[in-house]
Symmetry: C2
């Protein structure tokens, strides 16, 4: 039998954080692509558009006028999926028909007053302001709600309907599905091994190096061993941190700088404004904050869809929806490509 080589021989890998498997079939990159190509980004975005509801001074759907903000700006989503006062569906009459109450709030956070910038094109102090705003919204909404989900959908390909740089914050009265899985896995690992799963994982990746993309005094960026999306990354603090508000000023500055580097590499990969969904996961909050949650380690997931070029994405369809996630290059190959990319943004390098 041939000697196993991950880049040539399909195999499955286990995601211990979310308790899932992925099929890695790196030889699939050889197949020609004749399917859908995504529209190129041709439109240039104006820096200021008075009709864009995310711009300073613009009027939103509910008639409110935005302030002339000059850093970040947080406001209530005008079409929230979660509202604070939804009634309870009441008891279920059958074990196969279970519904439960869901309450919460949805906010939108603008990163910058200009519509024509993105995080990698912002300065480190500007990104630091975003991190501070993330920490404080986690603190505020976390006082009441057990889960505060900060996420950014970047690019039209990721369902983002407004080019102005922004993210969303959805706080809920329940632990969402993926939070529950991460809670369970980290709890189990901690009780078996006596330390947080992701702390040990980060340490191992620092030693093994082959999946590391970036490291700094306080942070690590790596393509996880079990990555599903072609250039998926995991951003981790090096010390044990449970939630965003716990980050020290030095850790926040360092985070701003490593985020800028990662997102610059992402844009440089296919010389495009790289689409992705990203989000933060930290220990549950809310009234149970009293619990220690020592098994939790703060982290951010980046899930970018592009596979081969600025216009050819990975489709998570068919087999992936019905059986199991499948990827077409190894996490080690993805990390190697990301590592090799310059830390200067291609738009700035060309000037």
């Amino acid at each position: 039998a041939a000697t196993f080589r991950a880049s040539e021989h399909q195999h499955i890998r286990y995601n211990p954080l979310q308790d899932e498997w992925v099929l890695v079939s790196a030889h699939r990159m050889k197949r020609p692509w004749q399917g859908q190509v995504e529209p190129q980004l041709l439109k240039t975005v104006p820096r200021y558009d008075p009709l864009n509801p995310l711009c300073p001074g613009a009027t939103r759907a509910n008639g409110e006028v935005n302030p002339h903000y000059d850093s970040t700006f947080l406001f209530d989503n005008d079409f929230p999926a979660l509202q604070p006062d939804a009634p309870d569906p009441g008891p279920s009459d059958h074990p196969l028909f279970r519904a439960e109450a869901a309450r919460g709030v949805c906010k939108v956070m603008c990163f910058h007053p200009w519509s024509d910038v993105t995080l990698p094109l912002m300065s480190v102090p500007e990104i630091r302001a975003v991190i501070d705003a993330w920490a404080s919204v986690t603190e505020d909404l976390g006082a009441q709600y057990p889960w505060v989900q900060i996420f950014e959908n970047k690019g039209a390909m990721m369902g983002c309907s407004n080019p102005h740089p922004h993210c969303q914050v959805w706080a809920s009265s329940f632990l969402p599905d993926i939070a529950q899985r991460e809670e369970r896995s980290q709890q189990n690992y901690h009780s078996q091994h006596g330390e947080p799963l992701l702390l040990e994982y980060g340490r191992q990746e620092l030693l093994r190096k082959e999946r590391l993309v970036l490291s700094s005094e306080h942070w690590l960026v790596l393509v996880p061993f079990w990555a599903v999306w072609p250039f998926q990354t995991l951003l981790l603090p090096r010390r044990h941190v449970r939630r965003l508000p716990e980050l020290t000023p030095a850790e926040r500055d360092d985070l701003a700088s490593i985020m800028k580097k990662l997102l610059t590499k992402y844009d440089n990969l296919f010389e495009t404004s790289f689409p992705y969904s990203m989000g933060w996961h930290g220990a549950p909050t809310g009234l149970k904050t009293g619990a220690a949650y020592d098994h939790w380690q703060l982290h951010a997931h980046y899930y970018p869809p592009l596979l081969r070029s600025a216009t050819v994405r990975k489709f998570m369809v068919g087999y992936e929806m019905l059986a199991q996630a499948q990827r077409d290059l190894t996490p080690e190959q993805a990390a190697e490509r990301l590592r090799a990319l310059p830390e200067v943004h291609y738009c700035l390098a060309k000037k």
Copy 2:
């Protein structure tokens, strides 16, 4: 407090088959959509294209020439994600780095010799031939492999790179993630309630009626209580059937007819060739076929992405990727819309 109404008040619902939750926020349909619209299907597909590797008589990537088939045609995928002989990655050196061997085969099945038809435009006997081919490939590959995943990616939006009507069959040496979840849930339900989960579920939906889309002598189509995709459906036999090969001739004819009706309704919904991924789940196969698997009920899932029109889809991004699935209309609303649609295809009605 207001009285709970599912179409107005957000809530969460539990999927007992796949052990997952979905957030239902039906009021979200009110928000205007300014995001990406999908390209319209403008190209007409030629009935026969000698350069299309799926056509009768065409030459494939590996140099083989297709027969002049006149019904279904099954062949090996030229770029398989699963190959029969991949070596074993060997033992893991750390509990967070687990990889296992994956072996299998990937096949492609053409439904019809013509490129310009789709299942709803095929005759009932032609669809019946597809069902027979599904049953026999399940039997053949199931003799060796524990899981035979039949799935169809329809439409460019679902990553389908060839318009010729076809599906894929991936058989694997492992139970894929979602198969494992369904195995666990059905096993648990059976040992607690003494009957198959989906048999009781189908019976309940027949009584409750509000999520039923179609029913026939042997089959049911419904929008599951826990549906994630806007117009997702579940296709179920009315009697206890574990796998496709067990279907009687009468059940196969009836299945062909209900599939034609469902897919016609789908196309009629937005007057377009409705994109989706679909697939069959039945009891595991392979060497363990000896086991009874009485807790399993055969079923097909249809996952269509369109939400508002032929060009506006639901994006499963951000919150959905990082926290929990979220849907923008209730399953009952979706079922009502599908029920109301004619069973004659809009392309034929206009002629």
